[in-house]
Homo-oligomer: 357 residues x 4
């Protein structure tokens, strides 16, 4: 008999349902007597005891379904440790609900913030197994996170479409790609769509280098230039600011995001016609791509195996094409970024892609 709590936390992404299906199928195929408590809207559901009882049937047919059947919410890590507006100690509340329901373990799907909280719960003595969910692919300890490849597909399709219109009109186009503070998504979508310039947080850009590249292309007869810009892209100048100075700058920031700032500067300094496109939340939505479905299913399957064996305190991840388990304390609080001298960056540069550095 197993009593399993499950929750999805943080920004939603594709293949959350596929991963949960994997966990539940692998467990229910091995053991008849399983109770699944689905906590609603992330940690909130665990804090306030808001859950729904689920059976294997509820996880049937959701392999291809985007979103999460449990709902999700973002609760910043630092707020988790603070009492809520009614003075409730959230961590204690989660522990109490865990013990009250006599859970064997919690299955937690989420990204960086989620993993910090999951590790906290582990430290507090709860049995926890986690799965690496994020379109950003910035989780330490795993080569890949699910959601990422689907988001690459969506961002790539957007840039593909922009390509034909840029080509027809001879414009500079900026497509702003998600990815939080890391450049994986932008780097891959940019390479996949043949972007001419890729700007990522890990490689601060020099606006003059971007202008050089545009002029070089014009000189070579290319009528248009495509920039794939990470939402977290930063100029060399801004990268040198102290935290305080940066905050000061952002206080009066008049742009919706960095792409609009770059567009304005390019218009002024390079005299080009620039358009900005922001696919935004579409990058998190819809059916997961086949890669993510297989990957999330495999992760779910191995998470199920850990639970059946009673091995807790791990995130399941992938390393060299094999599913692995990584101790939660090694994962929590660390970020996996693109290295500025990573081989893939060098390969991209050999193809003629500029990083504005």
């Amino acid at each position: 008999m197993k009593r399993i709590g499950m929750l999805t936390s943080g920004g939603d992404c594709q293949a959350l349902n596929a991963a949960m299906r994997g966990v539940v199928k692998s467990i229910t195929n091995a053991e008849k007597d399983v109770e699944i408590y689905g906590f609603l809207e992330g940690y909130k559901g665990l804090i306030y005891g808001n859950f729904t009882m689920l059976t294997g049937k509820d996880f049937s047919g959701i392999l291809t379904k985007g979103g999460t059947i449990l709902g999700s919410s973002r609760t910043p890590f630092k707020l988790i440790r603070e009492p809520d507006e009614n003075g409730l100690d959230k961590v204690e509340a989660m522990k109490q609900n865990y013990y009250k329901l006599k859970l064997d373990c919690l299955v937690i799907l989420g990204g960086n913030g989620t993993h910090k909280t999951a590790n906290l719960l582990r430290e507090e003595g709860l049995n926890v197994v986690t799965l690496p969910k994020t379109i950003d692919n910035d989780l330490w300890g795993t080569d890949m996170t699910f959601g990422f490849q689907t988001a690459v597909d969506i961002a790539t399709e957007a840039i593909d479409r922009i390509h034909t219109t840029a080509d027809s009109h001879g414009r500079v186009f900026i497509v702003e790609v998600m990815g939080h503070k890391v450049g994986w998504l932008t780097l891959n979508a940019g390479m996949a769509s043949g972007a001419d310039i890729i700007l990522i947080p890990e490689i601060p850009y020099d606006i003059d280098k971007i202008i050089d590249k545009i002029h070089e292309r014009t000189a070579r007869g290319s009528k248009f230039t495509i920039l794939a810009v990470a939402e977290g892209a930063i100029s060399k100048k801004d990268a040198k600011l102290s935290k305080k100075e940066y905050k000061e700058k952002m206080k009066n920031y008049k742009y919706p995001s960095v792409s609009y700032e770059i567009a304005d500067i390019l218009r002024e300094k390079a005299g080009v016609d620039v358009r900005v496109t922001v696919p935004g939340h579409t990058q998190r939505g819809g059916s997961p791509c086949p890669y993510d479905r297989v990957f999330a299913s495999r992760l779910g399957s191995e998470a199920g195996k850990l639970i059946l064996k009673g091995e807790y305190g791990f995130m399941v991840g992938i390393k060299n094409r094999e599913i692995i388990k990584v101790p939660l304390e090694e994962v929590a609080g660390k970020l996996k970024s693109v290295s500025a001298d990573a081989t893939i960056v060098k390969e991209a540069k050999m193809l003629g892609i500029s990083f504005g550095d």
Copy 2:
């Protein structure tokens, strides 16, 4: 022997290449001796004599290709009649190039502005055949314009993706859809994607009706609400402003577009978490959908027939599933909008969709 000039003008869209391929195939299949002058970047190419000689081969394999192999540019109608910075009379320049090249006719693909200029050239005595290109579907005299259905597909896919993330997070999501001053694109994409609220220019909205609908949904247990908002959507209040008053308002307008204004008001007045997504230029790009490929090919085929018969001064369009010809003077300067009491609007309302009116 036929000498045909061809140009694509205005914002690019899908199936421009498919339509040109149709024209050229139908003519070259019937007549051996054909010369095609492709003017580059819309009317600009005709004004400045910037063209490339094309053969049937150049139009092979472009049926599925987005954009336009001739390039495009926007030149507002009123500017067409004004001399350029060097004092050149643009209309005269176009006529001179037409006669110098001894063209039999011009094939012009474009939307509303393009048709005004095409009609002007007709009035000036040039032989003109036009094809109705625009994702807005706002051209008078034809049931449909090519590019429209593909744009519906793209906007629908965006809202589909937003649906899963809205569902997971329980938010209000606004997706801003193109369409210039008419609501066809938003209406169709909104109905296709199951949007809860559709705002179009032809039906000015009352923000309180929108809030009512959101609250009604919350009361019924729906955690999220999706708004498909046309880029030209307008509030009842703004719709009542005089042109001068509206201009005054827009002078200090702090929002990138109307969706952001609506979002702000909803946040404040309804206290909901609102996100805005703007698919933007992706709606004009990429490969045309099968519907548009067939439609543009048929239009091209019939345009070719007109040219072979020497019948000029027409736009080819579609009426009741048959390709027709419409005198250019009837088309130019008119707009085809959604009627507020159109049957399709009533049908949408019966499905529970609110138009905020």
Copy 3:
């Protein structure tokens, strides 16, 4: 208070769920007190009283879902009037269930066979409203059936893919497209994908004309030829056979379908490398395209309106872009085929497409 029976019959197709959602939403938005009896697996469910009670909620979120939540089955019309293996009179059984449940009407979604039975039930005194479902678009009385445009999209994508491989290898490729006894699907998918030869049942082909076209293409330097062949395509020779002679021929027919026969003859007579691809049932599956979603929703909405007004005995269809109602007795038993001298066929021929005639 309304008591509505609903069933989907015949081969499944896309947008069945979208259409049912439309009916239910439009009725439940207008009237509180509605009971919906969903009969399972088509007429079978009505015959054997196999149904499930449904509410508005069951139809929420199914707009984009392929298949049918009610299941379907094919029961040939002539068998409907014969007793089943236990001697049950099926028509009487349907009537009894209808009266036993005190239904106000039946909503029936289906194609040609389905409409014959629906009309029979109408003649027997039952209140019936039908919706035109079929990827074949062969229903008389409506310009369009839902499912059709999605099937065009899928078949087109298949031919698009084949195009690149045909081009790389210099082969003749046959793609067999569904469509039962009419050529709408093949004609549209063929035109949309730039097929060189289109064979449809309505225009019997002469194999020598096909060979001529292939040779003509080779002579012009085209390495490959693509044939879009309807599953019901027929040679001029076979078209002249009497029913008996044709039956005799098919008795010893060694090919899985006509495409394989054509391939064999081309290999032998034209000495070319031929490959056959049959997308098959994929053409009926998956999410409906935006066009079909809007169309099916509109049909559903108007069907709901008829029911609310108590107007029965009609199929809802579309004519000149407006949703109409057509008396069932006019629809049943008639086929809408492509006319050999339809304008669209002539347009296709002008583009250089051969119909092998």
Copy 4:
């Protein structure tokens, strides 16, 4: 100054153009003076001196284009060493053309057969660099081949579509997936689409186990069963046959492929309604998916680097997410198959997928 010969051989697949673009971009960005000889239709072009001179421009804009701009052909390895119908020694002919054109090296893109010939040319003293192209992913020495992930996407979409129709009609559906003699493609597409049974060449099946699984599903209330069957799937019985016995069996084999045989047996032994769908060559065609575009670009970039450094005799591949070089003699003639006890197979089994073993 570099003189580079390039050819694509074997069945075409997605991302061939992307890979060639990568090679050419990385070389031309580093070195001005480059001559590229594109041999047409694989080794044939090299044998008969059939080539076209290409520049960087020819490789611009082909990143997303399916097929191969050089054309391809299959020439079985054993035939390469035999003289052609005119007595021409093909290997000598290739060498002579190589030396006559004073090539620095050959860039060869292909699969298993292609690599055997490439290694032969290396043994004969030619400078060769190869890239691993095949939708089968069966090349030894690399974790992945390009084309594979796109083929997974296409096969998965086909099974997804079949899912909705199977669900509606309560049938057993077999989808036959490509993959030659290995099961990678079927395994991944099957897992991605939630197939219930996956049959691959590496795990011979027992038809009774398949029937058990179908019955087990029926007993649990599932109306349908989906089988993803590799084109090379084999029964335990057939797997035990000697080569001679197997040949004898196949001589009178009445089925187009193994799926039809399985379908027939299931119909007879299990009394179920079975349909077969064969997506066939669509699996090789169309635009490469973003994963393949990035991967092929990276391979091309690193192949370019090898050429610039004059390092020959290698295939570029990927290992643990880094691009590597593998000596050609280690690659040629070896097959990378799925191991019957691979972790991914165990994971699939935990999810409830039957392999019929």
